[in-house]
Symmetry: C2
Subunit: 518 residues, 2 copies
């Protein structure tokens, strides 16, 4: 999973102002696990962690997945969990559950994934499936340390374990096991019924997770879903995001002549579908980047409090623009954080004929634009599709139902186009949990407990989450709690897990498990 | 060469109205060669024609070209021409000349080409390099006739010789030889000094012909140039075109962020270059297809007489639209013939990101449109480039000079683009000979002579001619006189030459050669 807090590098400098802020409803979280206890149980978990990381887990390889899944079932069953391998075309998803210590407790489903991005070993300093321990020397260079230091020396929070999936997302799974062990040793019982769903294909976009969930809906049903995935803010301070935009892709094909026509013979004589397409696209947004399709933003309301919070956290003007090589950002929203709270419309691709030296002197027969609408919970996909359709009709376009226009349609309508919405997995659902909801308050309480630092609270991230479309099957509120260092190189070479984050992660999970969800 | 009279199938039905029209200045053309004489010398030329067609002449194969060139030199020298192989990187262009019968005569350069389109033999009924004689039976099916019929039977005008290059453009070369033979036999001396330029790479767009011409400018200098290439009107009636549009390609690249950006994280936050490009393109033309870039049509004047002639010849409304699958044509000009008398602007291609299933959820870093401007003599390429540049600047675009924007440009300008004009051979020159000029009158007189049918006169065709850019080197007026049947399948399988056109072609060439150019 990519960073769920993409703007967080800009939040850091504003964080000190937030540390002292009081958040209603997050008082009194337990310190069930002290830093020294965390270190003890983290240390105890390292052999399992190293073993787990030694097992390649390429989501494309069923044998990898099966081996990892079996390992996980054994690890959770050894801690009293009931487990189940949920069938998924040879790449089982692992389910595990443990009841709370008391009856009448709420149930939380924890989502993590054990599959990993594919690797290019030649780009790595050491073999990606052979974990190594490293620390930076005084010159800032990574030096390998003997793994034995993990059992002999006090843990330096700056040490890192290098291996594929060390952070994304095997690290959090082992932190979870360590937290369970720590609670047991402390005689603490979980204050929530625990369910775990450990995905086997997240790095491939969880293409079948929705089917797996649909087939086990009763088993998975819970009062909320926590996603332990993604990277923390660059500050390594706690952060939580309460929602994500959804995404749909609309392909707009404009039809011209039956076949490409010589631009000398027909130039001036017949309309050009590439121009027609450009003219339609030009009607969709204004110069400030605001979508002008009627009704596009209807129902979206951002509270004054949220707006102020985002204004405080927003990056300094120009910093993002400079990094991206732009003279300015779009100006329709007050700042980038606020901008992604609205639905957006972008052109992902344009295609007609050929360009440059490959261009034929021809008026193309068709021109295609692929549009991406990022939705918010208030602007569901079907409505957005309807609005775009209506806007095109308002521009005099006849939208065909078939694959290509019929002869009748060609003879009757001078602006012919097809608009199609791509199916799942190109469609992903928006979701947002109110920050003052019970689930959100419970999360914030747990996340704040170990460090007493007020978490960065992101109302909604601009991107989707890989499994959000599938999660939609369960109709559950969900919150994303990243636990790993921002600079973990996930998806790239030399992926690593910072042990300071590992220790804090164990404490955070333990705190959440021992906080009662109202 | 593709048809130089693209609209001519529509002209046919209006032709009868023109047959009786009187054209000033075309009186008194000689009937130097009667139909029976034409048949005699056509018949005599067939063995050479069949031999010439048996020699593959793929412009990509130097050995083919060399063999054909040597054959041509021999054929022309046998008729008293001085010939010369003009060096052209292994693919010689053949030059031949024969002085007029009297001193003080004007000089005409005749352009034809002996290279041929490549073939896909599997698509042909018979081997493309083995000429066959065929006629349609009562059921309309082609039946092969023995080649011996060409020497034993009277020639049926509907017979056809099938072979690659039979029509495009070896046929006219052999007709030329037959016309010379006929004149000699009749004791007629040419009334013009004859020069011939027989191109070897026309089907490849004559990429080096301009260099060959530049190297032999004095040799080739003449009072006018006649191009015997392209197909006659579908009516098989005489037709002449007096000009062609030019063509330039402008590539417009719009710059967005330094690299493609996640459309979830940045959607709404940063401008999208594909949208920016669409918005710019949309400003270039109105809904009628009229270019609204200021000054685009400046200097273009179509006389009322020309306008009326085109209105008479123009296709019935809807016929072209129907054939192309369009509800309507553009409406800014009165009819398609008039439309191509103006410069045009078309989008040949659009490219940004990817579309459809390949689309990434990313805001592309750049978006490119390739534009094609068809120029007319009054709107030269440099001026058109300047107008487009100025129009873009007027839209707030900063046009960079380099390949990519500098950091300074990126920080300073919010609408950054590059506009480049592709070099020759993507640039082709417009040319037009006034219909009342001496050369035009001479051509019309000769073309009308055999049949007494008033030729279809096309002021200017919409397309370029493959060699027009090169011809521009010679700064000579030129006129295109097509001699072969419209349905000759040039460039495709089963290319063929209708012998009725062959006979008329011999007479037409003879008539032109024996008419004095004032």
């Amino acid at each position: 999973m990519t960073s769920v807090l993409p703007s967080s590098r800009f939040l850091r400098r504003h964080l000190f102002g937030l540390v002292c802020a009081t958040l209603a409803g997050t008082s009194g979280a337990q310190h069930v696990i002290s830093p020294s206890q965390a270190e003890q149980f983290a240390r105890q978990s390292f052999p399992a962690y190293l073993q787990f990381l030694s097992m390649p887990a390429d989501a494309a390889k069923p044998a990898d997945i099966q081996r990892n899944a079996a390992w996980l079932q054994e690890a959770f069953e050894a801690r009293g969990f009931r487990t189940q391998a949920l069938p998924n075309e040879g790449k089982p998803v692992v389910y595990a559950e443990l009841p709370a210590g008391q009856p009448g407790r709420k149930t939380v489903l924890f989502y993590m994934h054990f599959d990993a991005q594919p690797v290019t070993p030649s780009e790595w300093q050491t073999d990606p499936w052979t974990p190594t321990l490293r620390a930076r020397d005084a010159a800032g260079q990574w030096q390998t340390l003997p793994l034995s230091k993990l059992s002999t020396d006090p843990i330096d929070p700056e040490w890192r374990v290098f291996a594929r999936a060390a952070a994304d997302d095997k690290g959090p799974i082992i932190m979870f096991l360590a937290a369970i062990d720590a609670l047991k040793a402390a005689g603490q019982l979980p204050e929530v019924n625990i369910k775990l769903l450990l995905d086997s294909e997240e790095e491939k976009g969880s293409p079948r997770l929705h089917s797996v969930m649909a087939a086990h809906q009763a088993l998975l049903q819970s009062d909320g879903l926590i996603v332990y995935d993604g990277a923390m803010p660059a500050s390594n301070q706690p952060g939580v995001s309460f929602g994500n935009r959804g995404s749909i892709q609309l392909d707009l094909t404009m039809f011209g002549p039956l076949s490409a026509q010589h631009s000398g013979h027909q130039g001036n004589v017949i309309p050009n579908p590439a121009l027609g397409l450009s003219q339609l696209l030009a009607t969709m947004k204004d110069q400030d980047g605001r979508v002008v399709i009627p009704g596009f933003y209807e129902g979206v309301h951002i509270s004054e409090a949220d707006r102020q919070q985002m204004a405080q956290m927003a990056p300094p003007p120009g910093a993002l623009a400079k990094r991206l090589g732009l003279a300015r950002l779009t100006t329709f929203a007050a700042n980038p954080l606020e901008a992604v709270q609205y639905p957006s419309l972008d052109i992902l691709g344009l295609s007609a004929g050929q360009v440059g030296a490959k261009a034929a002197n021809a008026i193309p027969a068709t021109a295609v634009a692929s549009l991406n609408i990022r939705t918010v919970p208030e602007t569901p996909p079907a409505r957005m599709l309807g609005l775009v359709r209506q806007h095109l009709v308002d521009q005099g376009v006849h939208l065909i139902e078939g694959e290509v226009p019929t002869a009748q349609e060609r003879s009757q309508f001078s602006r012919l186009a097809r608009l199609t919405m791509l199916a799942y997995p190109s469609t992903s659902t928006a979701a947002r949990v109110p920050m003052d909801s019970p689930l959100a308050r419970w999360v914030l309480q747990g996340v704040k407990a170990p460090s007493r630092i007020e978490p960065e609270k992101v109302r909604m991230i601009g991107s989707t989450l890989p499994m959000s479309g599938a999660v939609d099957v369960l109709k559950m509120p969900y919150v994303v709690v990243p636990l790993v260092n921002a600079d973990n190189n996930q998806h790239g070479a030399d992926e690593n897990m910072r042990l300071g984050n590992y220790l804090e992660g164990v404490r955070t999970i333990a705190a959440m498990l021992t906080t009662r969800l109202p």
